[in-house]
């Protein structure tokens, strides 16, 4: 274990590259299959706001040029690929002429923060619940938790968000209704700001947590049951080790391994699920950005956000694959 053979690395890098290439191509090709001219859409939005547009043809020609739509498709495609690799997604059509990359750069930290917060909580709670559900010594209460957990999983995250907002923010007033930090708090590396961010992030994170932890719990339950039947767990009991130690070191440690891979794969889905939660909490992350972009038909932004999310997923899968041998000594990279 440990050392990563070069052939394996190359193999994985090729898959990574392919993933990114295919994804980037898909999100470029699909909008172009649509019969609609993106420049028309932009003009249409101007009209939708005001009812009319003066000098429409002149504006259109200008838009076409600034989006490179006057060039042949194949040139557009390769330019797109090249630019995308450099994180240049062009200009937003809805908030022209802001570059998409700067919109993403502004939104990304919030999404990452919220996601890491919720994902870590979900992962920990879900897996712990799943583990305790199987563990013989855990209280009965925990063992009936799974059906309850799964009921939550069926709720769309937007509803859980609204319900939580209704209960904890509107009625109980424990948490703020919207935003990523307090109205009068200035962003910066201060305690006030950090506390405010935590305080504001709690409900959005929770609404993601309660609809996703069931997934982890269920997965962990299955894995734990398998591990529970393993001979080494029985031997550990015969060894007279303390039950908690067995639970952590012999059971969870082994059962959690496949969950780590699932974790990486889930990251992309999580951001997708975060879209609406960010919207209702007016939390200005990638999800909100994407949601607005969908409403505005802002394809450069949709493409950019999708690309970044896919990149994150692909990279996290790639990284997990690379570090897997370090957490599971049985796995060796095969060339």
């Amino acid at each position: 274990m440990g050392r990563i053979p070069r052939s394996y690395l190359i193999n994985r890098l090729i898959t990574l590259f392919l993933t990114i290439l295919i994804a980037a191509t898909l999100i470029w090709v699909i909008p172009r299959l649509s019969p609609v001219d993106p420049a028309d859409i932009m003009l249409g939005r101007m009209a939708a706001g005001a009812g009319s547009v003066a000098n429409a043809d002149q504006v259109l020609a200008q838009l076409r040029e600034s989006f490179g739509l006057d060039q042949p498709m194949i040139v557009q495609y390769f330019k797109y690929l090249g630019n995308t690799l450099l994180f240049d997604f062009g200009l937003s059509t809805a908030s022209f002429p802001t570059p998409v990359s700067s919109l993403i750069a502004r939104a990304l930290p919030w999404t990452l923060g919220l996601m890491i917060l919720s994902v870590v909580i979900t992962f920990v709670i879900g897996n712990a619940l799943g583990a305790f559900m199987v563990w013989e010594r855990s209280p009965k209460l925990v063992k009936v938790a799974i059906p309850a957990a799964m009921v939550f999983t069926s709720i769309p995250p937007i509803l859980s968000g609204l319900l939580l907002m209704w209960i904890f923010a509107a009625q109980l007033r424990w948490f703020p209704l919207t935003g990523a930090y307090g109205l009068m708090v200035e962003p910066g590396w201060t305690w006030d700001f950090a506390l405010s961010v935590l305080h504001h992030g709690f409900l959005p994170a929770l609404s993601i947590v309660i609809v996703t932890f069931g997934f982890w719990a269920l997965g962990m339950r299955g894995l734990m049951i398998t591990v529970q039947g393993e001979d080494y767990v029985k031997l550990a009991e015969a060894k007279g080790l303390r039950p908690r130690y067995i639970l952590y070191r012999y059971m969870i440690r082994n059962a959690i391994l496949p969950q780590v891979t699932a974790f990486a794969l889930k990251i992309g889905l999580l951001i997708a699920g975060q879209v609406l939660v960010e919207r209702i909490f007016a939390y200005n992350g990638m999800g909100k950005l994407l949601y607005d972009a969908i409403l505005d038909q802002d394809f450069p932004v949709i493409q950019g956000v999708s690309y970044v999310i896919i990149l994150m997923t692909a990279l996290s899968v790639f990284l997990v694959d690379l570090i897997y041998p370090f957490i599971d000594p049985r796995i060796r990279h095969e060339g």
Partner: protein
């Protein structure tokens, strides 16, 4: 430390049994048959219930009530009162939504629609999965490599995103179209699963026996291997139905997906957009959510049951 096994080397004695014994033996066999699993039945029952709502509702209820303005707006279910003090009537037993559409009619049409998308997407995904999985596992070599890399790559791409791009570009789609799109993202895991199973089965005793018995490749794949894959296929199918419904509802709640066809997700989207929560129109968002929950719990139970079928260890826990 093998577990105590009751099925190895012990043939049940069939001699000198009284009628009582035989009845007991029959009951015992039913217990031994893993398919007779309460979870499977409860789960199946829940789903069947939703299908029944669709079928009976079509027979017994006037579905024209699903049109805008067919009733008073925001009427509560029978026995409740809304904020304006209007009481529910039997003309709209589950109340109406903000456009005066009858909730019962919405559900009678919407719930089977949501299930339909899930089932169709999963069915198509499974078919692709079975085809590619068997090809990869049985043919192997370069073909296997290509299929594996492709499915690895596709597993990494979050389907919702691609669907969002697609939907934003194309606008309205039909239920079938949406199912087809989702199907494009649910074939990977059955492919992987079947490939792995086919690989392990390829060297199993009974496949070798079938070869020795002169069975054709077709027979081996579909008469020997496939029946034994049924619990896995079924499990994977059910899991995919869940994924597909989640994806479809996700799109619908974003306001994407079919615009004109009532689905549970679409109804929730409209409820949220109209501020149903603050208006206390709980039936508007609550009933579809409840049905979705029933659907997911049904699917979950079936899946848990299937897990127990294919993995006897789970039966105890």
């Amino acid at each position: 430390m093998t577990e105590y096994s009751t099925d190895d080397d012990v043939a049940p004695a069939e001699h000198g049994l009284t009628r009582e014994d035989r009845r007991r033996a029959r009951r015992m066999r039913r217990f031994d048959n893993p398919w007779l699993n309460p979870k499977l039945y409860w789960g199946g029952g829940l789903l069947l219930g939703i299908v029944l709502v669709g079928i009976l509702g079509r027979l017994l209820w006037d579905l024209d009530l699903v049109f805008t303005g067919s009733g008073m707006l925001k009427l509560p279910p029978v026995g409740f009162e809304n904020l304006r003090g209007q009481e529910g009537t039997f003309a709209n037993p589950l109340g109406t939504d903000g456009a005066g559409r009858d909730m019962l009619a919405l559900i009678v049409i919407g719930a089977p629609n949501s299930l339909f998308v899930g089932l169709l997407a999963s069915l198509i995904g499974m078919s692709i999965g079975i085809f590619l999985g068997f090809t990869a596992g049985y043919v192997g070599g370069r073909t296997d490599d290509i299929i594996r890399v492709l499915s690895d790559v596709m597993i990494t791409i979050p389907p919702l995103l691609i669907l969002v791009v697609f939907q934003s570009a194309f606008g309205d789609v039909s239920l079938t179209m949406m199912a087809l799109l989702i199907a494009g993202f649910v074939w990977q895991s059955p492919t992987r699963l079947i490939r792995a199973q086919v690989l392990s089965m390829k060297s199993s005793g009974y496949v070798q026996m079938a070869k020795l018995s002169g069975a054709s490749t077709f027979d081996i794949m579909f008469r020997e291997m496939l029946p034994n894959l049924i619990p896995y296929l079924f499990g994977s199918f059910i899991a995919n139905v869940t994924t597909s419904i989640v994806t479809a509802v996700g799109l619908e709640v974003l306001g994407l997906g079919p615009q004109r066809v009532p689905t549970l997700g679409r109804t929730i989207y409209e409820a949220i957009n109209a501020g149903a929560l603050i208006q206390n129109l709980w039936w508007w968002w609550g009933i579809p959510t409840l049905l979705l929950a029933a659907m997911f719990i049904g699917l979950l139970l079936i899946n848990l049951g299937l897990d127990e079928v294919s993995n006897p260890r789970l039966r105890k826990a």
